[in-house]
């Protein structure tokens, strides 16, 4: 007895998440993606403190300024005080990108968490309680066969005005977009979680837990959920990426946020009409969306490898 305690104490206590981190570090794309995601998050969060220009301030005298990298090499109207230029109403593009990024990221994260919560809830219920399995999975199949983008567009149109009246223009649209994306994207998580729960439920440790009288609630939170964390985390990254894309697609189709309330997709949409003369106004928000989504997808790729115990430690 004393011997075993001694040997145990000599092995450094090592959490399994350290192993995951070690494996994650070997995936170069994922590390670069993680670094970029941290950078862009800090950019939109700390940006307003470093770049104290009001995004909504109209400055007609300084309208249509070009960015500095064009101004330095050719003879156009530009200014160091507006490094990325201004739009047709003289609003600073850099400040708009920061403010739009805050909203785009906020929508992405909240919608992802909502869809993850719904997916995990339905997946766990269907996997754990046999009676609910049939009906919940039929329901998932039904939702999967709905044409989601058209329905999302219709929802935007229908509930925009009531929610605006109830919560104010900004919060109302935010709630609408987040819940719209959330309730149209939980199905894949639910299917994956259900499959894993079904497999884990047959394992011995679950039988042991049941035999000492663990109630179902504790069984789920203590034994099953920790074991399905890996697929949930991977689908979290996929969910974040697709939520950001869906939000900007809605804004791009003119059914997202109102135009005095910029998001990356909205800035892009507003600039499309004059993109021949001012391509930078389209390229910057587009780059922000694309690079964020790309980095999130790379993180997901790295996480999938890192969380797979068959690959880890090789």
């Amino acid at each position: 007895m004393t011997e075993t305690t001694q040997t145990q104490s000599t092995i450094p206590v090592r959490n399994q998440w350290w192993d995951v981190w070690d494996q994650f570090k070997t995936h170069r794309g994922a590390v670069i993606g993680g670094a970029f995601l941290i950078f862009i998050t800090l950019f939109v969060l700390l940006g307003p403190y470093l770049w104290q220009v009001d995004a909504q301030k109209l400055d007609i005298r300084n309208k249509d300024l070009r960015p500095f990298y064009i101004g330095l090499f050719s003879d156009v109207k530009w200014s160091w005080s507006r490094p990325l230029g201004t739009d047709h109403l003289g609003r600073d593009i850099m400040a708009n990108l920061i403010q739009g990024g805050q909203i785009s990221m906020a929508v992405g994260w909240t919608a992802m968490i909502l869809s993850l919560f719904l997916g995990t809830l339905i997946g766990v219920l269907a996997g754990f309680f046999k009676r609910l399995d049939g009906i919940l999975m039929r329901f998932t199949d039904l939702v999967l066969s709905l044409p989601l983008l058209p329905i999302l567009l219709v929802m935007m149109l229908l509930f925009r005005d009531p929610l605006r009246a109830a919560f104010g223009p900004e919060t109302g649209i935010f709630i609408l977009i987040v819940s719209g994306i959330g309730i149209t994207s939980w199905m894949h998580t639910a299917r994956i979680v259900r499959g894993d729960i079904l497999a884990i439920k047959e394992r011995e440790f679950v039988l042991a837990a049941r035999s000492i009288g663990t109630p179902p609630r504790r069984m789920i939170t203590r034994h099953l959920l920790p074991n399905v964390m890996s697929p949930i985390m991977v689908s979290a990254t996929l969910g974040l990426a697709s939520a950001i894309i869906t939000e900007s697609a809605l804004s791009f189709l003119g059914l997202g946020f109102p135009s005095d309330f910029p998001t990356w997709g909205k800035i892009l949409f507003d600039s499309v009409d004059r993109m021949a003369a001012f391509p930078e106004r389209v390229i910057w928000p587009g780059l922000c969306i694309s690079l964020t989504v790309l980095s999130v997808n790379y993180i997901g790729d790295g996480l999938r490898d890192a969380l797979d115990p068959r690959i880890r430690g090789l």
């Binding site: 794309g29 199949d141 039904l142 066969s145 709905l146 044409p147 989601l148 983008l149 058209p150 329905i151 567009l153 219709v154 929802m155 149109l157 229908l158 509930f159 005005d161 009531p162 990426a241 894309i245 900007s248 697609a249 791009f252 189709l253 003119g254 059914l255 997709g265 892009l268 499309v272 993109m275 021949a276 391509p279 389209v282 390229i283 587009g286 969306i289 694309s290 989504v293 790309l294 997808n297 790379y298 790729d301």
Partner: protein, 335 residues
């Protein structure tokens, strides 16, 4: 197999009815009134008559039944009449758009060719690009080609189509002037120059959608090839002294194509959905643009019919994918 197909076909009916009901009830909540733009001088009782003429007087379940009847009975009758010159429909009421006051299906029939040309062509191009890339990536795993392919496909499905489209317009039509940025639907192809023009205006939308589709399909192809390359039968084939070409292209490829074919079938309806955005970018007046216009204009019958057609596509291609899987893979029998 046949009983399975029949069972699935029968099961598809309640699914479609449920989907139709969900869409219908969602649109029932629509705040817009199709009579809103009528002049205020029209007396209220006349307005009430006009509402009834549009079929708005009855409770929702009656209208839902009528819509189903029109969609499944009346419209096919008109379609058959148009094809064979018969007279089954006998002047029955068709589904009428609130915006244009003309039958919804006439507008849809005008729009379908553009969507099919652009979207269908892009899917075909995407598949044709994706399959060889997936095969080479798997055979030369971790080579520079594989890494490059992985990167391109990551970019392909991370960059939203509205940004790739806009970027291509900026580069190729604004700066270089090679392709037109707006799709001209009135163009008639009857000689060589107009054919070249058609190709030119299709190039960019097709490329945007093809890149997006190829990114996903090439990943599936690669994963499926890698799964099969490690199997015992591949070792047997090599041990028998077959050349690598025969092993890869005959033995492995055929088996790897089974899941990929189903993925391709499953992707078709999503392509139609994704085309909504691409059509908006390049101003192609196809089904997607029609849907957006109808949504903005509160045109309930048009939105209902279009969304339901998208749903039918999803259900039908799900069915096709499942049946194909059973047909192609003799190990899978549903009965």
């Amino acid at each position: 197999m046949l009983t399975y197909t029949i069972r699935r076909l029968i099961l598809a009916v309640p699914t479609l009815l449920f989907i139709a009901l969900v869409i219908f009830l969602l649109l029932e909540l629509a705040p817009g009134d199709p009579m809103a733009e009528m002049p205020l001088t029209i007396p209220p009782e006349v307005k009430e008559k006009m509402r009834e003429a549009l079929g708005l007087g009855q409770p929702w379940y009656v209208r839902f039944y009528l819509w189903l009847y029109q969609f499944f009975i009346v419209e096919p009758q008109y379609w058959i009449d148009g094809l064979f010159g018969t007279n089954f429909a006998d002047g029955a009421q068709r589904i009428i758009s609130f915006q244009s006051r003309s039958p919804v299906f006439n507008t849809i029939a005008e729009r379908i060719p553009q969507t099919l040309w652009v979207v269908g062509m892009s899917y075909v191009v995407g598949v044709i690009i994706a399959l060889p890339i997936g095969i080479i990536s798997a055979v030369r795993q971790y080579s520079w080609f594989d890494n490059f392919g992985t990167f391109i496909s990551m970019v392909g499905f991370s960059v939203p189509t509205f940004f790739t489209g806009v970027l291509l317009i900026v580069i190729f039509s604004v700066n270089l002037g090679w392709f037109p940025s707006i799709y001209d639907t009135t163009l008639k192809v009857n000689d060589w120059p107009s054919f070249v023009k058609q190709l030119k205006q299709m190039a960019m939308p097709v490329f945007v959608l093809a890149l997006y589709n190829a990114a996903q399909i090439s990943r599936f192809m690669r994963a499926s090839m890698l799964d099969n390359l490690g199997q015992d039968y591949v070792r047997t084939a090599r041990a028998k002294g077959m050349t690598e070409k025969v092993v890869v292209l005959k033995h492995v490829l055929r088996n790897s194509l089974i899941p990929v074919v189903t993925v391709i079938a499953l992707g078709v309806p999503q392509v139609f959905g994704g085309a909504i955005i691409t059509e908006q970018v390049f101003k192609v007046n196809g089904l997607g643009q029609l849907l957006i216009i109808a949504i903005h204009g509160n045109d309930v019958p048009m939105v209902l019919t279009l969304t339901f057609i998208f749903a039918v596509l999803i259900v039908v291609f799900n069915l096709i994918a499942d049946i194909l899987y059973g047909v192609l893979d003799p190990r899978i029998r549903y009965d």
